[in-house]
């Protein structure tokens, strides 16, 4: 008979406030095999862990249960503590009586009963647990970074600098992301391109970085340390190996396509580079708008290119790579102005979004940095900025705060004021949030020294009247409604995850939260990892954040990858499937259900084996096995049955 110890955590009042922990200890002490049961205020604290270690030795425990918070938080903590006391880590189990009990119930009696049943269930599991050893798995020390914005660039550079190979995949033809579109950055007013382009060039030239722009990840299989990735290189219809980037083809192209990079405020040809500082600085032909592709006639670019780099017959390529870790840094979009019905739904020409205004401010933008409004090119004298356009609006748009708008709107108003001295900026806001180094000072300066008028209230409606754009708002601080006849309105539209991210996460099988942003393994303690091992996350794809935070997180994710690559091999959870060769009839149903090709048929013995390196421990084959030959370690059918019985309060 096993000697099991149960340790019940109060978690301050988090558990003890609802669950009678003393009673839980008393009740579970009566169970078979339980030789010790004790409650303690903070089990995860040093003294708490010391108690666990001491009792393992003293009571000669060969199995322990920690009744505390979710195993996602402290399973590894306690398994390490157990190991230190000489107990096999797989003899340590967590009974979740916080997230799945004390926090979700208020009736003390019922919560206590439930906690007892939860602990009993885990006692039953532990009674039959075997001692296991982790399975060593080799690592491919090459990283994949998806997304070539500042997050992806930073992560790729950091990993590459540590000596490991990196593939940086970007779906546009150039890396740079949104940061390349910005004019200046808050609160220092550094020129965005000036600080970004050296990094773009560095990433383009680094001998450990393989840049794959105009490419998208098609499929990912495998597991941490050993992923197989298929990447689609879209045909640019230009042979980049011979193209010199002279740009003559782009001048000749007769097509006019609204520039996505300039937010539709300028046009480029069907053959184009998105912006002059692009890395790599090679053009692509947009198949949708190319006159030749549409009508079969034109080919002006081909005639212009003296070295014959235009290749209309190019096709997409599929490239397969073996990868050890994946960083997802796919960035964001902003809520389209067209979705904001009461703000003109995109039909009022002088209502633009923040990124468009960045382009108007940018020295390399469509107006060379002069602020001119889209409708008639006049310099606007009264400019209204509307914050929370689609953010913090759970009823109609997005429930969350987009975080960067307070600061960039202040920056916009400031830069506008610097360009148009007699112009008047107004900012409508709900709250001004300046949590960041130097942010409060930046805002303070804008408010008190730059003549920017902050109006506390939401804008209800924006419409066009003649050449004016009428803004109806309120100022809750004076208690007066406000009307402004604006020349230009800039909406700080909500930051939203890219649509392509939703498709990508399906391929990667990583998690997103309710708003479509990538989920981290733990909101506080594991912020750069996905729950799934081998996947890391960086940048706004995880949620709205500014550049310094994005860069810090990208470096953090890179460090996690480097730390993973610093090991000789990985240890895989041994709680996987195994086969009782005596019972196996060789029906091979397990082979048909295994998603990892981990079940192999042994022709000689006529049985189905388990390839331990490939098995992920999902248990699908165990459930499928008709004769009970396949079992899962530490989750056998007999364990499950006694757990079920115990969960019902025993019989």
């Amino acid at each position: 008979m096993k000697r099991i110890g149960v340790f019940i955590c109060h978690c301050g009042i988090n558990i003890a406030g609802t669950v009678d922990v003393k009673r839980v200890a008393e009740e579970v002490a009566k169970l078979d095999s339980v030789v010790y049961a004790q409650d303690y205020i903070y089990m995860c604290s040093d003294p708490g862990q010391a108690l666990v270690r001491e009792k393992i030795r003293q009571e000669k425990l060969d199995g322990i249960i920690i009744a505390a918070c979710s195993p996602s938080l402290h399973e590894s903590t306690f398994r390490t503590a157990a190991e230190e006391a000489g107990l096999n880590p797989w003899q340590c189990e967590i009974a979740n009586i916080r997230e799945q009990c004390s926090w979700v119930h208020t009736d003390r009696k019922k919560a206590t009963e439930k906690a007892i049943r939860i602990v009993s269930t885990m006692v039953e599991k532990t009674r039959l647990n075997e001692s296991l050893e982790p399975i060593p798995v080799s690592i491919t020390k090459k990283a994949l970074v998806i997304g070539g914005g500042i997050a992806g660039i930073q992560a790729a550079l950091d990993i590459a600098d540590s000596g490991h190979k990196v593939i940086l995949v970007e779906k546009e033809s150039s890396i740079g992301g949104h940061m390349a579109q910005l004019s200046e950055t808050f609160p220092t007013l550094d020129c965005s391109q000036c600080i970004l382009t050296p990094k773009m060039v560095a990433a383009g030239k680094h001998r450990n970085i393989q840049l794959m722009t105009y490419s998208e990840v098609e499929e990912v299989s495998g597991y941490v340390g050993n992923f197989n990735v298929r990447i689609r290189r879209k045909a640019p219809f230009v042979d980049w190996s011979t193209c010199t980037g002279c740009g003559l083809c782009m001048e000749k192209c007769p097509a006019k396509v609204p520039s996505e990079f300039d937010r539709g405020l300028s046009t480029h040809g069907a053959i184009y580079i998105p912006f002059p500082q692009a890395v790599p600085n090679k053009p692509v032909i947009d198949r949708e708008s190319c006159i030749y592709f549409k009508t079969g006639k034109c080919r002006l670019c081909e005639k212009t290119c003296e070295i014959g780099a235009i290749k209309f017959d190019q096709e997409d390529q599929i490239i397969e790579e073996e990868i050890g870790a994946i960083i997802t840094a796919t960035g964001y979009e902003t809520l389209p102005v067209t979705e904001l019905q009461e703000y003109g739904a995109g039909e009022v020409p002088d209502v633009i979004d923040g990124l468009a205004f960045e382009r108007l401010l940018s020295a390399s933008g469509p107006t060379s940095g002069e602020v001119r409004r889209p409708s008639d090119g006049r310099v606007p004298k009264e400019v209204v900025f509307v914050q929370c356009a689609g953010s913090r609006d759970p009823e109609r748009y997005r429930p969350y705060c987009s975080k960067i708008c307070c600061m960039y709107t202040t920056k916009h108003a400031l830069l506008y004021k610097h360009r148009v001295h007699d112009g008047q900026p107004y900012i409508f806001y709900i709250d001004i949030r300046t949590g960041g180094k130097g942010y409060e000072e930046f805002y303070h300066n804008a408010e008190q020294d730059e003549g920017i008028i902050y109006l506390r209230g939401k804008v209800a409606k924006i419409f066009r009247d003649g050449d004016k754009t009428i803004v109806w708002g309120t100022d809750t601080l004076t208690g007066r409604n406000v009307e402004i006849q604006a020349d230009l309105v800039v909406l700080a539209t909500a930051v939203v995850p890219r649509e392509s991210t939703a498709e990508l996460v399906k391929k990667l099988r990583i998690q997103t939260g309710p708003n479509g942003f990538l989920s981290e393994a733990h909101p506080k303690l594991r912020p750069v990892e996905s729950i799934n091992s081998g996947f890391f996350i960086a940048g706004v794809a995880q949620g709205p954040r500014d550049i310094p935070e994005t860069v810090a997180q990208a470096s953090g994710a890179a460090c996690k990858v480097i730390s993973l690559f610093s090991r000789d091999h990985l240890e895989q959870d041994p709680a996987i499937a195994w086969v009782d060769e005596e019972l196996c009839g060789g029906c091979r149903i397990c082979i048909s259900v295994c998603p990892y090709d981990a079940r192999e048929y042994d022709e000689e013995k006529c049985i189905a084996r388990v390839n331990e390196a490939l098995c992920e421990g999902c248990g699908s084959c165990v459930a499928a096995c008709a004769c009970g030959a396949t079992q899962q370690r530490n989750l056998s059918d007999s364990q499950i049955k006694s757990m079920v019985t115990a969960s019902l309060g025993g019989e």
């Binding site: 009990c101 248990g619 699908s620 049955k641 079920v644 019985t645 969960s647």
Partner: protein
């Protein structure tokens, strides 16, 4: 009032994480279920479900990832196929199909988990305690 007993087989990646989220969000729901966590809902053998009923469970909940979101590619499809067959078996045993529920609850759906637990508890209350001929006879 009749308090039904529920066994919940939850996959670790989605539904158990969703149950954790219900906890961190401090949502309140009925305490009638005890969760048993599997790596994947496809670990649930129909036999486990039948065993639960045999042992006196008034209801069984199986929770997995939404279709297409399975951490193990297609485990949840297998679960669904098995549950469909199991329903036919339940009919033969005279167990109301409503006592077995398969739900897709993602890691982000703490509210859904809480709602399902409440709803399922109410439904089982209206069905009353499970009665199995074999058990009745044994008594």
């Amino acid at each position: 009032m009749f308090e039904p007993r529920i066994v919940c087989f939850l996959c670790t990646w989605c539904t158990s994480a969703g149950a954790d989220l219900a906890g961190t969000s401090r949502l309140q729901y009925r305490p009638n279920g005890v969760n048993i966590k599997f790596m994947c809902s496809s670990r649930v053998d129909p036999e486990h479900v039948l065993w639960a009923f045999r042992e006196g469970a008034d209801g069984v909940l199986i929770g997995g990832c939404h279709p297409g979101d399975c951490h193990y590619q297609d485990g949840n499809y297998r679960t669904q196929a098995r549950v469909s067959l199991l329903y036919r078996l339940l009919d033969d045993f005279g167990i109301d199909r409503a006592r077995l529920r398969l739900e897709w609850i993602s890691a982000a759906e703490g509210t859904k988990f809480a709602a399902v637990m409440n709803e399922f508890t109410e439904e089982l209350r209206s069905l009353g305690p499970i009665k199995l001929a074999a058990r009745e006879m044994a008594k």
